[in-house]
Amino acid sequence: MQTLTIKNLTAEVDGKQILNGINLEINTGEIHALMGPNGSGKSTLSNVLAGHPDYTVTGGTISLNGEDLLEMSVSKRSLAGLFLAFQQPMEVPGLTIGKYLKRIVELRLAEGERMNVSAFIKDLKSNLDTVGLSHDFINRYLNEGFSGGEKKRMELIQMMMLEPSFAILDEIDSGLDIDALKTVATGVNKLKGGDFGALIITHYQRIMENIKPDFVHILYQGRIVKSGGRDLVDMLEAKGYGWVREEFNIPEEADEYQRTIAS
């Protein structure tokens, strides 16, 4: 079993403190969901985990199997088993998906191990089938001219090809219709098991119908204010985030987020 541990994490962006002490432990074999209204710090947390240079950690620790994640470069974090699905995946013109995926899979081979190209292509085609993208995508340039849904599916393809220990799926469900959501869930569920843990970051309850999380956390103003099981999702569905504010005596200003969600 592997473990990703976040302790008392505080972080800021543009001099503004967004995370106010996050504590979270994820083991492989577990699916966690992190929910919260806009501005609660969800994306900041995923950016900090990825190592985005614009985000500064001001306190606390993140460790991956006891190793200090914050000391690792962005690429090293990935090679250590962490995967981040981007909210807005970048387009890289001229770089074909086939060539790109082959390279990132190759980077994970043990020293002296040779890549089995035909097995790679077979895997890739099967994964494309799983997320409902045609095999033509192998020769397309990475994310260039893709629709929002295609980009999200391409994130999943990468996750499935890399088989990370931990995946952080940052709003993988945003902008997707019901069918696409089901596809995303199929992708995540395909990896679900003893060697894989995930943190699904979302402010929609909908995706939880297809990906059944083991743990649900509610993020509010940079803190995890409540953790529980799947019943928390139902509670949010029924009562909205206002209930969280009341329960934890959070000042009125937070209502702005509530309205955003409602709209």
Binding site: A50, G51, H52, P53, S73, V74, S75, R77, S78, L79, L84, F86, P89, M90, E91, V92, P93, G94, L95, Y100, R103, I104, L107, R108, Y141, L142, Q158, L162
Partner: protein
């Protein structure tokens, strides 16, 4: 055709052209920034002393040898002088019909081929007009003339490698090509020189009716070298040209590529990749000159600049009054890798007919750091991520090239980019 030349020795005719060009060279001045084409490349800043008329006699005798490599491909090596050589790779059956003529070691030509060789040289002398092209034409000691007979189809390209290992004297790697009617043929011209060399060459290609021609000029020149190349293509009716040039290395590379679309329905595609690093200046000009009806032309040029490198691209679409229904495009994209590197883009149009479709566009951008984050977050190291983005940027040009040109040129320039990456 001028039958009088048949009675003369072709050698004498060519020497006559050399003499006229030598005189022009002596009488003219170096181009100055007052001329629009030279506005951004001021020769006063460069040591032009290496660009001198040759002291050697015109009738230098070259040796020739045929070799066969392990794949059964034959090469013709022409040792032009002790310091320069031209290697011509003829890779398939059918290529024995190709006529290769080198003035320093002439073969007997039949009457019509004599006229063609003479015309190629004369046309070049009449067309090119600056001091550097006059120098190039002042001697044919390093020149190669190629005649592709009518109706010949070759799948593999002819590779012509010009190489000089002495920086002492000006190197004049001229290539003249006549492509007959109903042909299909490809050429790769590679110009290689040692450090500190002074190179001026012309390329003159005439493409006959219904010819399908692929050309590439790839320069691989030593550091501190100055190179000037004047290229001219004339396309007859229904001729198709796909031309590629890549430029990297040296101190200054200045090229001018002009395409005359002289016959109806001619089609020219010009592609270029420039990679400038250190203090290299690369100045490329293209001219898509529409002289006949219903022709298509397109120029797609990409440049990458790094360190203190600078590229200048000047593209002109010129449409003559009689060239109605012209369809012409010009695009230039530049990628600037760091502050201090610079890419200039000067597209222009001269249109004398209203019934045309012409457009030009250019962009200059930096590597987006979010792209780097994206790729590194998948385990790719930072340097490799930059390399991938750069290769991707260029591959949209490479992906448009015929396979043989792509594989040959891409390797060369990518190697160059990688070498530079390792050094920096």
């Amino acid at each position: 055709m001028d039958n009088t030349i048949l009675k003369q020795n072709i050698q004498e005719k060519l020497i006559g052209i050399n003499k006229v060009s030598s005189d022009k060279f002596k009488k003219s001045n170096w181009p100055v920034p007052m001329e629009e084409e030279w506005r951004r490349t001021n020769l006063a800043k460069y040591d032009m002393s290496g660009f001198q008329l040759s002291q050697q006699t015109q009738n230098v005798s070259s040796s020739k040898s045929d070799i066969m490599d392990n794949d059964g491909n034959s090469s013709l090596i022409i040792n032009k002088t002790s310091n320069t050589k031209a290697v011509i790779k003829l890779n398939e059956s059918g290529s024995e019909n190709v006529i290769i003529f080198e003035p320093s070691n002439p073969i007997m030509l039949n009457d019509s081929d004599t006229v063609l060789v003479n015309n190629l040289a004369e046309d070049a002398a009449a067309h090119f007009d600056n001091k550097l092209s006059s120098l190039a034409l002042s001697s044919f000691k390093d020149s190669v003339f190629i005649i592709i007979p009518d109706n010949l189809e070759l799948v593999k390209p002819l590779v012509v490698e010009f190489e000089s290992d002495s920086g002492a004297e000006s190197y004049l790697p001229n290539l003249f090509i006549h492509v007959g009617i109903n042909t299909q043929v490809g050429f790769i011209q590679k110009i290689k020189s040692s450090d500190g060399s002074s190179v001026s060459g012309v390329l003159n290609v005439t493409c006959g009716d219904n010819s399908n021609v692929h050309t590439a000029t790839v320069t691989d020149i030593g550091s501190d070298s100055l190179i000037f190349i004047n290229r001219f293509f004339n396309l007859s009716k229904n001729a198709f040209l796909s031309d590629f040039q890549s430029a990297t290395g040296g101190k200054l590379i200045k090229t001018r590529t002009e395409v005359d679309l002289s016959g109806e329905k001619a089609d020219a595609r010009l592609y270029g990749v420039l990679f400038s690093t250190d203090h290299t200046q690369i100045d490329m000009r293209t001219v898509q000159h529409h002289k006949a009806k219903n022709c298509f032309s397109q120029a797609t040029i990409k440049s990458v600049v790094k360190d203190k490198g600078r590229t200048i691209y000047q593209g002109l679409i010129e449409v003559e009054e009689e060239a109605s229904l012209t369809d012409a495009y010009l695009t230039n994209h530049n990628l600037v890798l760091n502050n201090g590197a610079r890419a200039d883009s000067i597209p222009s149009l001269k249109i004398r007919n209203n019934d045309v479709k012409c457009s030009h566009g250019s962009t200059t951008s930096k590597i987006n750091e979010e792209q780097i984050l994206y790729l590194t977050s998948r385990g790719i190291a930072d340097e490799e991520a930059r390399q991938m983005i750069l290769e991707g940027f260029l591959s949209s040009v490479y992906d448009l090239l015929p396979v043989h040109v792509k594989s040959y040129s891409e390797l060369l320039i990518m190697d160059k980019i990688k070498q530079k990456e390792e050094i920096s």
